[in-house]
């Protein structure tokens, strides 16, 4: 994984990507116990290509293939890990990238989403495994509730949060 992070940093230094942030299960692992995952989700701000106003992942794949990495479907294998590059789907992901936290793995810097942004994105995505991760976060006690509330309000996710609470956070039976 360290090699993967080194490549991301080099891509940023070479201007292929802008800011990035690790999300998904690997991002969550910074805060929680490790849970099996097969890939690394990297949310990236993309550099604009030439005069085109469209932002595409083309230059990312071209760069990585030129540097000897292999593409497999929507993934690129970097180090031992399949990596999926995800441009921000909207303001929530853009904010998550902008506010990601700088960490270090064996002296290799890496940017990881905040726990609260990981939850908001999981809530928005809404698969069973996303809900399971949210429950893990709640149980872990690492959340800053006021920060999470502000993010959910800012991105129109309060209704989903309420629904999630009704579905999964009923008081325990005595």
């Amino acid at each position: 994984m360290k090699d993967t992070f080194s490549v991301l940093n080099q891509m940023q230094a070479d201007g292929i990507i802008g800011r990035y942030a690790i999300g998904g299960a690997v991002g969550a692992t910074f805060y929680l116990e490790p849970v099996a995952t097969l890939d690394v989700d990297v949310f990236v701000m993309l550099a604009q290509s030439g005069s085109s106003p469209l932002l595409t992942l083309g230059p990312v794949y071209e760069y990585l293939l030129a540097h000897g990495h292999k593409a497999e479907g929507e993934y690129v294998i970097i180090g031992d890990w399949p990596v999926q590059f995800l441009p921000p789907a909207g303001p929530l992901e853009e904010e998550a990238i902008a506010e990601a936290v700088a960490q270090s793995v064996d002296d290799v810097p890496v940017r990881v989403m905040t726990a609260e942004h990981l939850i908001a994105i999981a809530l928005k995505t809404g698969r069973a495994k996303d809900f399971a991760r949210i429950l893990q976060f709640i149980e872990s006690g690492v959340l800053v509730t006021s920060r999470l509330d502000a993010i959910l309000a800012r991105h129109g996710l309060l209704d989903k949060w309420e629904h999630f609470g009704k579905r999964f956070l009923r008081p325990e039976e005595p």
């Binding site: 690997v26 692992t29 490790p34």
Partner: protein, 53 residues
């Protein structure tokens, strides 16, 4: 809920908290091992049942 189940749940919770408290680099190494195990399980599933006699 029986006392035995309560103790079991508490023990699992404590183990998870211990894992969560590891340094990020250590946890990433564990992720790598978990991934290898998951891939091995997937491969075994694809291979179908074996006759272990």
């Amino acid at each position: 809920m029986s006392d035995w189940i309560k103790r079991l749940i508490e023990s699992k919770r404590a183990h998870r908290a211990k894992l969560a408290a590891l340094p990020f680099a250590e946890k990433l190494k564990l992720l790598g091992k978990l991934r290898q195990r998951t891939l091995a399980i997937h491969a075994a599933r694809r291979a179908g049942p074996t006759n272990a006699t």
